[in-house]
């Protein structure tokens, strides 16, 4: 169904750094607030941004979807947040983990750290750790705020409070630098969060996007939609020569020719750039039959078996 021209995929993956920078800026538009020590509290804050970005970041133009979810699900009034869940499902179905690859400021932060020229390690052997983020999503974001409540029925936002490094990077530290009242509140919890941030920073230098792979509940949520999202990766089996360059280029340990809709694929397009024949590309909409998951595709389809390729040369 999609016939996105080849050039766009290459362009998209080449401009990704700029798009990430632009997204980080748009998500945190109110930059002067960093100096003022306040937060933007206008109407924009009622909307959730697609990536992981702390509500308490002085410059933040919107709310964090994960933070908002916990705040609402942990309050005594609403037991489930339909608006926020609905919004997240919409984003997941439209973009899936494309958001991770292009629009998340914290993902961009980790990639910038990865550019530091020190020893790099592969995360292939650590693949089982990728399951941890689903536990974080289920446990810290959904169950604990819902169930671990105080006498007034209020739960804590467990992920924000005890784990999120983006919150301490964007919220606690900038606010504490400028606001003496906030500084006075810092204690052991702040030390713990700084420790987590430091660990993520160090790991991000050695590994590619460790937080995204192992801990991010938002990435875990969007990953559930990778199989059905409108924006996805597509491999033209008629062009693929099985050279394996795409799998080698992939830093999320995904083989796009076998599993283009893998939950770990953040749609960064490194495979698109690595492919010598232009077989791998971004695609929007339900992929045509020939491009469906590579698993099970052995013979090259002929015009008789593939109605979408009528009259086209292989």
């Amino acid at each position: 169904m999609d016939k996105r021209p080849f050039g766009v995929s290459r362009l998209l993956s080449r401009c990704r750094g700029w798009i990430q920078a632009g997204a980080a800026l748009l998500t945190n538009l109110h930059l002067p607030n960093f100096l003022r020590g306040g937060l933007y509290q206008g109407p924009g804050k009622r909307l959730c941004v697609p990536g992981l970005n702390c509500y308490s970041c002085p410059a933040s133009a919107g709310a964090c979807p994960i933070g908002a979810f916990q705040a609402v699900v942990g309050s005594s009034k609403f037991h489930f947040s339909y608006y926020i869940t609905g919004l997240l499902i919409l984003l997941g179905v439209l973009l899936g983990r494309f958001i991770c690859g292009f629009l998340c400021p914290f993902g961009w932060f980790q990639e910038l750290l990865y550019k530091i020229p020190l020893a790099k390690r592969s995360t292939k052997a650590l693949y089982p750790l990728t399951w941890l983020k689903y536990l974080v999503l289920l446990g810290m974001v959904v169950l604990l705020p819902m169930l671990a409540v105080n006498q007034a029925g209020l739960g804590d936002p467990f992920f924000c409070k005890y784990l999120c490094p983006q919150g301490v990077l964007e919220g606690a530290i900038p606010l504490a630098l400028v606001n003496p009242g906030i500084r006075a509140t810092l204690g052991d919890l702040f030390l713990w969060k700084c420790g987590i941030l430091l660990a993520v920073i160090l790991c991000s230098i050695a590994f590619f996007r460790p937080f995204c792979k192992w801990l991010c509940p938002l990435g875990a949520f969007y990953a559930l939609f990778n199989q059905i999202s409108l924006v996805r990766m597509q491999v033209d089996q008629t062009k693929c020569i099985s050279c394996g360059k795409c799998a080698k280029a992939c830093k999320m340990d995904v083989d796009v020719t076998r599993t283009p809709d893998h939950t770990e694929c953040i749609r960064c397009g490194m495979c698109v750039r690595a492919c010598p024949t232009g077989a791998v590309r971004f695609c929007c909409g339900a992929p045509s039959g020939k491009a469906r998951s590579g698993a099970g595709q052995t013979a090259q389809p002929t015009p008789q078996t593939d109605p979408t390729k009528q009259g086209e040369k292989p």
């Binding site: 401009c15 700029w18 920078a21 632009g22 800026l25 748009l26 538009l29 109110h30 930059l31 002067p32 607030n33 003022r36 020590g37 306040g38 937060l39 933007y40 509290q41 206008g42 705040a71 942990g74 309050s75 005594s76 009034k77 105080n150 006498q151 007034a152 209020l154 739960g155 804590d156 606001n179 003496p180 009242g181 906030i182 006075a184 509140t185 204690g187």
Partner: protein, 196 residues
């Protein structure tokens, strides 16, 4: 290279736009934020006329002038740490009453007298055993603007008899030992100043 230059130009334009946008829009939000906490000792708690949660009229002039020190606690109904300290604030209120002081609460959700919010606030106060006065006023009053500048909850102010702010506001639960110590110091300061 042209594409790169264009992209760089676009990002710079966005950057400049954001600075301009902030100048216009967020100034009203943030200057009010800084005003209370920047130099609180010279500032006044804005005068207000409002009601308590049972509908009785209150005004700040009477409230503050009747006591050597008034501790004002900002909270809201779905704020975990705020609700967590309500019982302790009630105990503090009882202690203050022996010293010519009192504690009052302002629930940010109840501004403008929103009926549901008032009912829920009373419910939470009852659940936590907090019997001290909670007041509300109009959100477009001077006090309402002051309240909208509070972004960290709970926030606690200490006010003297003339309505002046004493010391810096305490952010976060006053049940933290460090914060309780600061609060007690400011309360003592207000009481001493009142005597002298």
């Amino acid at each position: 290279m042209n594409r790169t230059k264009f992209a760089a130009l676009l990002l710079t334009a966005l950057f400049a736009l954001s600075l301009a946008a902030c100048g216009a829009k967020s100034q009203p939000d943030t200057t009010e934020d800084m005003a209370p906490s920047a130099d609180a000792s010279m500032q006044q708690f804005p005068a207000f006329e409002g009601k308590d949660l049972d509908g009785n009229a209150v005004n700040s002039q009477d409230l503050f002038s009747e006591n050597a020190v008034t501790v004002v606690n900002f909270w809201f109904t779905t704020c975990g740490p705020c609700v967590g300290e309500l019982a302790d604030l009630d105990a503090l209120n009882k202690e203050l009453q022996k010293q010519d002081g009192r504690l009052i609460g302002i629930n940010a959700f109840t501004l403008d007298g929103n009926e549901t919010a008032v009912a829920e606030a009373k419910d939470v106060l009852a659940k936590t055993g907090a019997s001290y006065t909670n007041v509300y006023f109009d959100s477009d009053s001077e006090a309402g603007t002051f309240a909208s500048g509070v972004y960290a909850y709970p926030t606690t102010y200490v006010v003297d008899r003339s309505g002046n702010l004493v010391g810096e506001p305490i952010l976060g639960a006053v049940t933290e030992p460090k914060q309780m110590e600061s609060l007690k110091q400011m309360i003592q300061q207000a009481i001493d100043q009142d005597k002298g």
